[in-house]
Symmetry: C2
Subunit: 136 residues, 2 copies
């Protein structure tokens, strides 16, 4: 398997470190942020429009990849759980999955999105349109 990720772009955000980032994008502290797509991948944004609802996939490059059990939300009084039952950034493949809306498309290859809790410099690995409401 060709299992090496390519970085298609980076998050540019006013959130500069993990300590000041909220846990989830719908919590206080998530911000409007820039997604700067690398020139080599700019064509992949063709027909992107403001208002688009996206699944934004990032790579939590500062996370530990060794944890298989974690305390939910980092709270040590909560019992340990398997990492696949949590959204902890510490996981074997530290992929972040964020639901964001495109506010603006800036040529040649920048998206302004909100709300996003990922820190400045977080690598972006994929962008997909959300195709329908979640069937919760």
């Amino acid at each position: 398997m060709d299992n090496e990720l390519v970085v298609i772009g980076y998050v540019r955000s006013s959130i500069k470190d993990r300590a000041s980032a909220p846990k989830m994008e719908d919590e206080p502290g998530a911000v409007r942020a820039r997604i700067e797509i690398e020139p080599a991948y700019a064509d992949g944004l063709d027909t992107m429009r403001p208002g688009a609802k996206l699944d934004l996939l990032t790579w939590f490059h500062q996370s530990s990849r060794d944890a298989l059990k974690v305390h939910p939300r980092g709270k040590e009084h909560l019992p340990l759980r398997g990492v696949f039952t949590t959204r902890s950034p510490n996981r074997p493949n530290p992929i972040g999955l964020h639901q964001v809306t495109v506010v603006e498309v800036q040529p040649p290859a920048t998206l302004i999105v909100e709300p996003l809790e990922a820190i400045d410099g977080t690598p972006v690995i994929d962008i997909k349109p959300r195709k329908r409401p979640d069937r919760e």
Copy 2:
């Protein structure tokens, strides 16, 4: 950046090839399937329960990674679009994002889930709980 994915498990499904797979998991042809997690990652399933709604992330190992523009749903009469405005499996990082429900947890490390359109043998790279309804 340490950007090499690890395979945490595999999809085991009655869908054996891409030609017979539906495009999306909510279309006819998606099935109940097994997710066999590798022994090294089994602890990550601790506290997983039937009924859990998951974001299942896979790696479309048979996809092309070179396409930046595609015909939506492979229909050549539809105009080309940037791949990041589609959910085509052909994309720079061919990550599949599937919304599934856990039907059964089989020790030591197998999940029965539905509905899933990924083919038999597809690598699994992450499992996350969906935390709330989509804000469409």
